[in-house]
Symmetry: C2
Subunit: 148 residues, 2 copies
DNA sequence: TATTGTTATACTCTATAACTATA
DNA sequence: TATAGTTATAGAGTATAACAATA
């Protein structure tokens, strides 16, 4: 937990300096950039980022006001909204990534060899998957609140 | 990072239910309980917990108001304050720990074998130590702010 | 002068509940 | 009825800067 907190502080500082982004904003932007076509449904984004829906709406508004993402109605379901990273969003990310990679290399990878990195990927993925079954997603929390 | 966030959510829920503690309060209390004599200087506590001093003062006030810690002037340096866990604090911790151990076992250790746990301890400790050299402590941040 | 700790203040983030709208 | 998303509101946590006190 200490390692995680410290790494988040390091990355937060860096993305704030280089791209005027907060850590959660950077995570959302990076996740969108990695998604097919740079788009994701709001609910899926909320679940994947461990956010409540209202928390995601808040961050999405900030990112949209900054011109880094755009929200549009989803094609096949008029209830849904699709968030898409904009060209400006990709530009910011391109500006931030070199420093980000440097920071992560220096703070994380530099003290590990390849086999250790591989082992971490395996074990922490297993932990993450396990925790996803134990920690209710944003959607599940909502269902629980409505039902109880 | 995902694993860390999820584990924090899991633990936060559990310590809140079982002991009416927030995650940062639980961390501070546990750290004090582990310290020799149950006492630590405020600055050392802030540095060890990745807090600013003001942030620690805030949490310390909450814990003290709840009767779980007590702050007293330090014996050898009248500028310093020593925080000590109280009997009530130890009681709360004793009430919370069984559920905590269960949660961590279920969410974390259950998916790992002994050698994986050992490898995690080695690698994440190295990462933590490395990050401690890169992320300024509360004291260092303050010096920087004063100097610049 | 430098260090320790607190406090006033402001801001970010997150969540709950209420609301609107569509399936 | 159930799901998707937003917003009003409130609260927790943190940090910066100013302050008081001691080394």
């Amino acid at each position: 937990m200490e390692a995680g907190s410290l790494l988040q502080l390091l990355v937060d500082d860096q993305v704030r300096r280089d791209g005027n982004l907060s850590y959660p904003q950077f995570v959302l932007l990076a996740r969108l950039a990695d998604a097919p076509d740079g788009r994701m449904r709001m609910t899926d984004l909320a679940d994947s980022a461990v956010h409540s829906r209202s928390g995601l709406s808040y961050q999405a508004r900030l990112l949209e006001d900054a011109g880094l993402i755009q929200r549009t109605p989803s094609p096949h379901d008029d209830r849904s909204v699709t968030a898409a990273i904009t060209d400006a969003g990709r530009d910011i990310l391109a500006r931030v990534m070199p420093g980000h990679l440097d920071a992560v290399r220096q703070g994380f990878f530099s003290v590990l060899d390849d086999s250790q990195v591989e082992a971490l990927a395996v074990t922490l993925s297993a932990v993450r998957d396990r925790l996803r079954t134990l920690v209710p997603s944003a959607t599940q929390r909502r269902r629980k609140a409505a039902g109880g």
